[in-house]
Amino acid sequence: MTVADRVREPRQSTSPPARPRPRRLGPSLWMSAPAMGFFAFFAVVPLAGVVILSFTTWDGLGTPEWAGTANWTSVLSDPVTQHAITLSVILTVASWLVQCPTSLLLGVFMAGRQRYRAVYSVLLFLPLLFSAAAVGIAYKSLLDPNFGLGTALGIDSLNQDWLGDPSLSMPMLVFVIAWCFIPFHSLLYQAAARQIPRSMYEAATIDGAGRMTTFFHITLPQLKNTIVTSSTLMIVGSLTYFDLIFVMTNGGPGNATRVMPLDMYLRGFRSYDMGGAAVVGVLLVVVGLAVSYLLNRLGGSSRMDSQMEGL
C-alpha cells in the first residue's frame, strides 16, 4: 500500500487540474465484509494454525505437543526435503520454459481470425475441461509400457519405462502438466493479442516491417503485462502443484518426483508427522508469496503503465 502510494505520488502532483479528491467512489466497504470474513476464516486462521503446528509434534492422534524448533531443524536438514526443494525448482523452471513460449506462440496464432484457427482453438481448449485426476489416470494407462499407446499403435519406441525410470519420470510430468495448462495460458495470450490495435501493425507494414519484426517489436512488447500475469500463475502454480503428480507417480520412482507439495502430503498423511508437514507447508507459503511479489515488482505491473500511449 505504502510502496504503491509512494510510486504514484509524483504522478498525481504533475497531473494538471488539481481535482478535489472525491470523498469515496464505489459501494460501501461493508460490501467486502463477507469476503473478508471468509478469507479470514478459511485462509488466515488455518495459516496461523499451520505456523503453530510447525512448532509441535503431532501424529494426528492425541494432542499436539510443543517441540520448539525441533521440526524445523530436522526437516531442513533432511536430505528428502532438500531433494524436494531442488525438484520443485526444477519443475518450476522447466514448466515455465516449456509453457511460456509455447502458449505465447499458440495464443498469438489463435488470435488470427481465420476459420481453421478457430477450429484449432476449440480443440486445443479441450484439456481445460478435464479434471487432473482423470488426466493422470488416462496418461498412466497411455504410458503403460506393456499395454499402452506404444502397443496399441505398434510403435515399439513408445514403449519406454516412462514413469518408472527416474530420469524419464520428471520430463514426463513436465509434459503432461504443460498439456493441461498450455490451453489456459494460450487463452490469456489470445485475448491479449486481440487487444493490440490493428493500426500499429498497419503503420509498421507501411514502414516496411516484416512478420518477424512486427512480432518482436509490436506483439511481444504489447503482451508484456500478460506475460507477467501468466508467468506468475505458472510459477506459483508449479511450486504448489500437487494433484496430477500425486495421481501419476505419487512421488516415485523412489524420490524422483517428490516435489515439495507432495513431500508435505506424504509427511502429513502417510507418515502422520503433522509438525514436519507443517514446516514444509510454511516454506511453500513463504516462497510462493515471495515469488509472486517479486514477479510483480520486476514486471512493473504495480505501475501498470499503459502500453498504448499516443494512440
Binding site: 460490501m31 465484509a33 514413469l163 520412482p253 523412489g254
Partner: protein, 432 residues
C-alpha cells in the same frame, strides 16, 4: 439508500458468520443416546458387510448400527483425524499393525479379550494373533484372509521348458533364465509403480532366510535391525533378481491399481506374479477364460536353501479388523460387542464371503469351501492360511506410519538400483 446498503452488507456478513459457525459444529457420534455406528470400506468384501449389517439391523431394531461407506484411501485419511478428535464411529475398521498400536497407546479402543471369547474360538489362531497387542485382543478379523501367493501362467512356463512353480530360490533364478531365453522379456510381473507389491518380495525373502525373527527385531526396535546379516542377505537376493532381469526393465511403470501386473500374467507376457489372494477375483472378472483354462497356477513362495524360515510361513494381510471405540457410550459399545459376538462369522457370513471368492478365517470351513465354485483355489489358500506357523502382516501396516513411507521409498530405490542393500539398511536404520 446508503443506510439500506449498509444493512444488506451487515446482513450478508451475519449470514456468512452463521454459515461458518454451523460448519464447525458438526456431529458428535461419541455422545450418548445415539445408535452405534460403523464406517465400512467399499469394494472387496462390501457385499458381505452389507448383508451382515442389514440382517443385524432388521433383527435387532433396538440395537441398530448406522453405517457409512468409504473408499479405501478416503477412509484411511479420514479415520485417523476422527479417532484423534474423539469423533470416531463405534466400530473402527482397521488393518491392525502400526495404526492399532497407536490407537491402543492413546486409549482410543477397548480391550475385547474377555468379551469376545466365544467368537475367538471360531477363528484361525494365526489371524487372530494380528489383532493382539501385548497379549490383549483389541481387534477382531471381519473379512477374508489375504495371503500373498505366487501365481503362475503354466502355459508360458511350459513353453520355456519350466515344469511347475519353483520350490527353491535357486530354481526361481533358473526359471527366470529359462524364460528369458525363451523370449519372455518380463519373466515375473511386478507393479513397481505402486511400490507396495515390491514389499511382498522382501517380506517373503526375509522370512525364508531368517524366519519371523528377522522382521520382529525391527518391530521391537532393536538397534541396527535392518542391517542384520539375514536382512542384508534377503535384500541382496532382491538385487540378484533385478540384475537377472527377472522383472524386465520396465516394471517401474506397471501399476497395480489398474491390474496391469495381473494382465501381464494372463496375456502371457509373464510367467509368474507374486500378489495378494484378491488378485484371483481379478482373473475371474478380467480373464475368465484364462482362469478356467487350467493355465492359472498358484503356489506358496519358494524356500531358500539353508534358510531358517519355515517354508509354510506366509505374508500378507491376515484380514481386516473391527475395533471398538473407547470414546463411544456404554450402550454403543455393548451394541458393537453384541454384533461382533452374535453376527460375525456365523454360517451366513462365511457362506457370503466364500460366494464372493474370499478365504474365510474361521476354523472348519473346509466343507463349505469344497462345495463352492472356486474350490481348487479357495482350498489351496485356506489350507495355506490354516497351516501357516506364522502369518506376517504386511510390513507397511505393521510398522509405525512414520517408517512405513520411508520403507516404500527406499525399497523402490533398491529395486531401481539407486540404492545398494547396505545403503537401504542404513537409510532404514536411520529412519527407525
Amino acid at each position: 439508500m446508503r443506510g439500506n446498503k449498509r444493512l444488506v452488507a451487515i446482513g450478508a456478513a451475519a449470514s456468512a458468520a452463521a454459515l461458518v459457525l454451523s460448519a464447525c459444529g458438526g456431529t458428535d457420534p461419541g455422545s450418548g443416546g445415539e445408535d452405534a455406528s460403523a464406517w465400512v470400506l467399499t469394494g472387496g468384501s462390501e457385499a458381505t458387510f452389507r448383508s451382515s449389517f442389514e440382517t443385524w439391523n432388521s433383527d435387532n431394531a433396538d440395537q441398530e448400527i448406522a453405517t457409512d461407506w468409504f473408499a479405501n484411501d478416503a477412509y484411511k485419511e479420514k479415520i485417523r483425524t476422527a479417532v484423534g478428535s474423539g469423533s470416531a464411529p463405534t466400530l473402527i475398521f482397521n488393518w491392525a499393525g502400526g495404526a492399532l498400536t497407536d490407537y491402543v497407546g492413546n486409549d482410543d479402543v477397548v480391550d475385547l479379550t474377555s468379551r469376545t471369547k466365544e467368537l475367538q474360538e471360531r477363528l484361525v489362531p494365526s489371524v487372530l494373533e494380528s489383532g493382539k497387542i501385548d497379549g490383549k485382543l483389541y481387534a477382531v478379523p471381519n473379512n477374508n484372509a489375504q495371503p500373498v501367493i505366487l501365481f503362475t501362467n503354466n502355459k508360458v512356463l511350459e513353453g520355456a521348458g519350466v515344469d511347475g512353480p519353483p520350490t527353491t530360490f535357486d530354481e526361481l533364478l533358473d526359471d527366470v533364465a529359462k524364460l528369458k531365453r525363451a523370449g519372455v522379456d518380463t519373466p515375473i510381473a511386478l507393479a513397481g509403480q505402486s511400490q507396495w507389491p515390491e514389499l511382498m518380495w522382501i517380506q517373503y525373502l526375509a522370512d525364508r532366510v531368517g524366519g519371523p525373527e528377522t522382521f520382529n527385531a525391527v518391530i521391537d526396535g532393536k538397534p541396527d535391525a535392518w542391517s542384520s546379516p539375514e536382512m542384508l542377505k534377503a535384500l541382496g537376493m532382491i538385487t540378484q533378481l533385478v540384475d537377472a532381469g527377472a522383472f524386465g526393465d520396465k516394471f517401474g511403470s506397471v501399476v497395480a491399481d489398474a491390474n496391469a501386473d495381473a494382465a501381464l500374467l494372463h496375456t502371457g507376457k509373464s510367467g509368474m506374479l507374486l500378489q495378494g489372494a484378491w488378485t484371483y477375483s481379478n482373473f475371474l472378472t478380467d480373464a475368465p477364460d484364462f482362469a478356467d483354462s487350467g493355465d492359472l497356477g498358484f503356489a506358496n513362495f519358494p524356500s531358500v536353501e539353508g534358510g531358517k524360515g519355515d517354508p509354510a510361513n506366509i505374508v500378507g494381510n491376515p484380514a481386516n479388523f473391527w475395533s471398538v471405540s473407547a470414546k463411544a457410550s456404554k450402550e454403543q459399545q455393548d451394541t458393537a460387542v453384541d454384533y461382533l459376538n452374535d453376527a460375525m462369522w456365523d454360517e451366513k457370513y462365511v457362506d457370503e464371503l466364500i460366494k464372493n471368492g474370499g478365504v474365510p478365517v474361521t476354523v472348519g470351513a473346509e466343507d463349505k469351501i469344497a462345495g463352492s465354485d472356486q474350490a481348487p483355489f479357495l482350498t489351496f489358500a485356506y489350507d495355506m492360511v490354516k497351516n501357516a506357523p506364522n502369518f506376517q502382516l504386511s510390513w507397511d501396516q505393521a510398522l509405525p506410519a512414520s517408517q512405513a513411507q520411508a520403507l516404500l521409498t527406499n525399497l523402490s530405490q533398491l529395486f531401481l538400483g539407486q540404492k545398494t542393500p547396505e545403503q537401504f539398511a542404513k537409510a532404514m536404520n536411520d529412519a527407525s
